[in-house]
Every structure is written in structure tokens, then in C-alpha cells.
């Protein structure tokens, strides 16, 4: 069970080529961060995984099935994509309706659906907002509404497009905890983010993109301590790592505890 991306390129209808020759595999239960410069093609790439985009070259296989042979609605049962801009995703009148909408054609009973919705709301911290209009709640919470939709649907693969944008420390902690729970349940989580501390804290595998391509697919430590990759993909080390480098440490430090040990040994 995996998503396989094989030699994929993608061009928008206006002819602009946004992805070139992508190759990677996401295993079931795996957690991966995608980082890289604005406009590198991250959002474009993940939209290929749930069929919102179909490759202009190459293939995307979801558990062995080519996305070209399925509709977005069909693939979305397996691959949930949470939009970068929540307002591109939300269209129902209440938060609860938004969460229930995706069960429209499901065979689950009303009670089962309700249990799923309640649990998703709890895990994403949006219980208090269930009966509100989505556009009356703040952006940072609206993002959790769009995440809750796929938590409830229980898709085996979940893609989060910049969930950390605009989140405060509570939101960041809630996201980290949510990813842990999903991983314990065997679900894959692919997260695009510009928050380098969040990447260091929560991901062992990181894909770095620049100029339409994947330029590295490695551990967080190796990526952050490869200055060529850091520069090319417009990312940065977490600040503690930068400080470690500036004072001459060669230990590939990323975390405060590691730097503290280095300084106090």
C-alpha cells in the first residue's frame, strides 16, 4: 500500500510547467514534510496525489491504481487534500454540515457518522464551533475545520497544505498531536510547511523542492545541514541550528537540548 509518483510532470492549462520529473513514494503510515520556495510547485505536486491534477507526463498510482482512471471524488476517499486556502474548500453553511457533507453517499448510519464527526471535532479542537457559520470563525480555526473533514472521513492518506500558517503555539501543538494520533492509526500524513522548527520537531523524512523539482528527499538533519539545499530551496535551519553553525559546531545540531549539551559539556 503506497502512493507512487513516477516521472511526473505537470503543466497548467495556460501552458506553464509547474512540476518536472517528480519521483517519490509515500508508504502507508509514513509521515513526510514537503518544504521549499514559494512557487516551487509544492501545492501543484500534492494536487497530483488526489487527482485534482492529472500528470501531463508520467503516472501517479494510489495503492496500485492510476489516478488517470479515477475521478477526484473516488480518489478523495483514499487521499484527503486539505487546501492551502480554507476558503477554497469550505462551502457549507455550518461547520457541522461541512463535516457531514462528505458522507453524503456513504453507507454509514447517521449514528456512526455523528460519532466520526464528534471525534474529528474533538481531535482538531473545533467542538465549540460546530454550529457556527464557517465564515464567522477565525482563519486559524477554519483551517482546522478543513482538516476535520478528512479526519472524519478517515482517509488512509492525508495531505495538509500549510496547516501551520497563521497558527499560534496552541495550534502548532494541536497539529503535532493530531499527526501522532493519525500515525498511530496507520494513516500517512504529508504536510507542506514553511515552519522549520515544526519540521525538525515532527518529521524524520523531508522532501525539499525548488524550481519545479524535488532537489532532496532525506532526513530533516541531513537536509538542514546541507547548505546548498537550504539555499536553493529558500529554507533555513531552525534558529538553534544556525546558532550552532555560527559558533563552529559540526554536530548537525537542530534542537535546544543538543546545543545546551554542547555548551555545558
Amino acid at each position: 500500500m503506497s502512493i507512487e509518483v513516477q516521472n511526473v510532470s505537470f503543466a497548467y492549462p495556460n501552458g506553464y510547467v509547474a512540476n518536472e520529473n517528480l519521483n517519490f513514494t509515500i508508504e502507508k503510515g509514513e509521515r513526510v514534510a514537503i518544504v521549499g520556495q514559494n512557487g516551487a510547485g509544492k501545492t501543484t505536486a500534492v494536487k497530483l496525489l488526489n487527482g485534482l491534477h492529472k500528470p501531463t507526463q508520467g503516472e501517479v498510482l494510489v495503492d496500485g491504481t492510476n489516478t488517470k482512471e479515477r475521478t477526484v471524488a473516488q480518489i478523495s476517499k483514499y487521499v484527503g487534500y486539505v487546501f492551502q486556502n480554507p476558503d477554497d474548500q469550505i462551502f457549507n453553511n455550518t461547520v457541522r454540515a461541512e463535516l457531514e457533507y462528505s458522507f453524503k453517499h456513504s453507507k454509514l448510519t447517521a449514528e456512526e457518522i455523528n460519532t466520526r464527526v464528534e471525534r474529528a471535532a474533538e481531535l482538531t479542537g473545533i467542538q465549540a464551533y460546530l454550529n457556527m457559520k464557517p465564515f464567522d470563525i477565525p482563519y486559524s480555526i477554519r483551517k482546522f475545520v478543513t482538516i476535520a473533514v478528512f479526519v472524519a472521513l478517515d482517509t488512509p492518506y492525508l495531505i495538509l497544505d500549510e496547516p501551520t500558517a497563521g497558527q499560534d503555539i496552541n495550534g502548532i501543538n494541536r497539529l503535532a498531536k493530531l499527526m501522532d494520533i493519525l500515525q498511530d492509526e496507520g494513516r500517512s500524513v504529508i504536510t507542506i510547511t514553511h515552519d522549520m522548527e515544526f519540521v525538525a520537531d515532527n518529521f524524520s523524512r523531508v522532501i525539499a523542492m525548488a524550481n519545479k523539482r524535488i532537489i532532496a528527499d532525506d532526513s530533516a538533519r541531513n537536509i538542514f545541514w546541507n547548505n546548498e539545499i537550504v539555499a536553493e530551496s529558500n529554507i533555513s535551519k531552525p534558529q538553534i541550528g544556525e546558532l550552532a553553525e555560527e559558533i563552529g559546531s559540526k554536530n548537525k545540531i537542530l534542537f535546544r537540548s543538543e546545543l545546551l549539551e554542547y555548551l555545558t559539556q
Partner: protein, 286 residues
């Protein structure tokens, strides 16, 4: 007389059960950068809306107390006059884009047209800001088909092109890559050097620690802490208030707890580097 001032300001949105801002008092000086931080829902955006004059004129609700901008109470300002004095960069870059323009160039020019700026000057200003924000390659693109970070740069460019004396900037880097984020902070710093007064809401606390002159922490509508940046962040207890603390400040605190404190409490990377290198040379001398 201070440049901007809030006196006993309390505000409640229409139909709301609680005050969104509670008895806020503050002086802002010209040419300084103020960082506004705090947990979401605390009232940061409401505070920005207030300083831009959108409260109560646009939102309605109950405003008590006084807000002075350049000595004049906000309710006495003409809205067109405010528009040319205060630039406001909204929190959500997806809503700042007008949606009615075909190209990024026209999108950035739109605000200037509304201000009645001459055509030649519009072209000159737009040409300058797109260079500054490294979006020259996008000027002919459709603003509705940009990536999230590209949109945020366009939104930022449209407002700084207006060259207002005061800038209210609500989370300008939420969609930006780390390099883009530090570029924006460099630009904000430059604007400050040019004498602009800037109110900046931002979650990226390391950068606030580095650039802000003063910090205001807002929680549940209250200004719970404020003052010089170095003083605010030396109090790591703030973590309990849902406020992030710079990693470097936490490191300074760790060093203290390990009985090896820095000579002065560092809150930025360059301060910490200096302290560490100093300690290192002391060790060698002994």
C-alpha cells in the same frame, strides 16, 4: 504629544457577549516598530482594525475611550484622509487581492489609482516595489493564479507602494518561505529607518525579538504585557499565556538553570553568539 495614542479603549463587536478589547492604554512613537503578539482570538486583528479606523465606522459595535492618530481623534478623521495616512496589510492574503484585475501590475497599481496618484508616478512606484519584493517575473501573471506565497508578496507590495506614514501589518509572512520571510523583515526594517511607524502582528517570534522596538502581548482582549522587546522576552513565564518565546531566550534560560548563565540574557541569535564566543575565549584564557 505622542504620535499615536490609545486611552482607556474598550470595544465590543455588535451582538458579541464579551469585549474584544478591554481598557487598553498605549503610546506609540513615530518611527518605531511595534510587535503585536499573543494567542489566536486574543484581539490582535481587532486592534489592527481599530488603528486603521475600521472600528467602529466599518464594523459598528461599541467603542469607548479615545484613539488619537497624529494628535487627532480617530472619529474626526475623514476616511479618505486615513487611507492615505495608514496602510493596512490584511491577515489573509487570499482576501487582500481584489480579484478584479488581470495582471499583478494592475493589481498593485489599483490602490495608487484610488489615491489619485499620477500615472507616471504609479508606473515608477510599482516598478520599484516589484523589484524590492522580487516579483518582477510575475507582473504579467493573473493574480488569481498565483501560489499562496506569491499572493502574499503581491498584497504586501500593493500596500507599501502607497507610501503611507503609518503601516499596520497583520501576519505578513504566514505563507512565505523562510527566505521570503527574512526579506520581508528586512523591508519592514528599511521602512522603519525611513521614519515609518509600524504596527506588526506576527507569530514568528524570533524575528519579532530581532526587529521590534517594543512588544505588546494581547490576550483575551487585554494588553497583558508590553514594553521593550528585550524585557518582555526575558520573562519565559509568558509561555504559560499561550505566547511563544524565542528559542534563544529559552536557551538563555536553560543556561541560567544549568548554572552557566550568559552575562546578559540573550533573546536573539547574534546576542547569543556574542555571549558564547566570549565565554569560549574566557575558558581558553584560564
Amino acid at each position: 504629544m505622542s504620535y499615536m495614542e490609545l486611552k482607556n479603549v474598550t470595544y465590543r463587536y455588535p451582538l458579541a457577549e464579551q469585549d474584544a478589547l478591554k481598557n487598553i492604554n498605549y503610546h506609540f512613537e513615530q518611527g518605531k516598530l511595534y510587535g503585536i503578539i499573543g494567542e489566536n482570538g486574543g484581539g490582535k486583528t481587532t486592534f489592527c482594525d481599530l488603528m486603521k479606523g475600521l472600528i467602529p465606522s466599518f464594523y459598528g459595535g461599541d467603542l469607548t475611550g479615545e484613539v488619537f492618530i497624529k494628535g487627532k481623534e480617530i472619529r474626526d478623521w475623514e476616511s479618505s484622509e486615513l487611507a492615505s495616512s495608514i496602510g493596512y496589510i490584511f491577515q489573509n492574503p487570499f482576501t487582500q487581492i481584489s480579484g478584479i484585475k488581470e495582471t499583478v501590475f494592475e493589481e498593485i497599481a489599483l490602490g495608487l489609482e484610488n489615491l489619485g496618484v499620477e500615472r507616471e508616478e504609479i508606473i515608477e512606484r510599482v516598478t520599484n516595489v516589484v523589484k524590492q519584493l522580487k516579483i518582477e517575473h510575475l507582473i504579467k501573471n493573473n493574480p488569481n493564479k498565483l501560489s499562496g506565497g506569491q499572493r502574499q508578496r503581491v498584497a504586501f507590495a500593493s500596500i507599501i507602494a502607497m507610501e503611507t506614514d503609518i503601516l499596520v501589518i497583520d501576519e505578513p509572512t504566514s505563507q512565505l518561505d523562510p527566505k521570503g520571510t527574512s526579506d520581508i523583515f528586512e523591508i519592514i526594517h528599511l521602512l522603519k529607518e525611513q521614519g515609518k511607524t509600524i504596527l506588526l502582528v506576527e507569530h514568528k517570534i524570533d524575528l519579532i525579538a530581532e526587529y521590534a522596538d517594543e512588544v505588546l502581548v494581547i490576550k483575551q482582549g487585554e494588553l497583558i504585557t508590553s514594553g521593550k522587546t528585550s524585557e518582555v522576552f526575558s520573562n519565559v513565564e509568558l509561555l504559560n499565556e499561550g505566547v511563544n518565546i524565542p528559542q534563544i531566550a529559552l536557551l538563555s534560560n536553560d543556561m541560567k538553570e544549568h548554572g552557566k548563565p550568559f552575562e546578559t540574557f540573550a533573546i536573539t541569535k547574534s546576542q547569543a553568539r556574542e555571549q558564547i564566543l566570549k565565554k569560549g575565549s574566557e575558558k581558553i584564557c584560564q
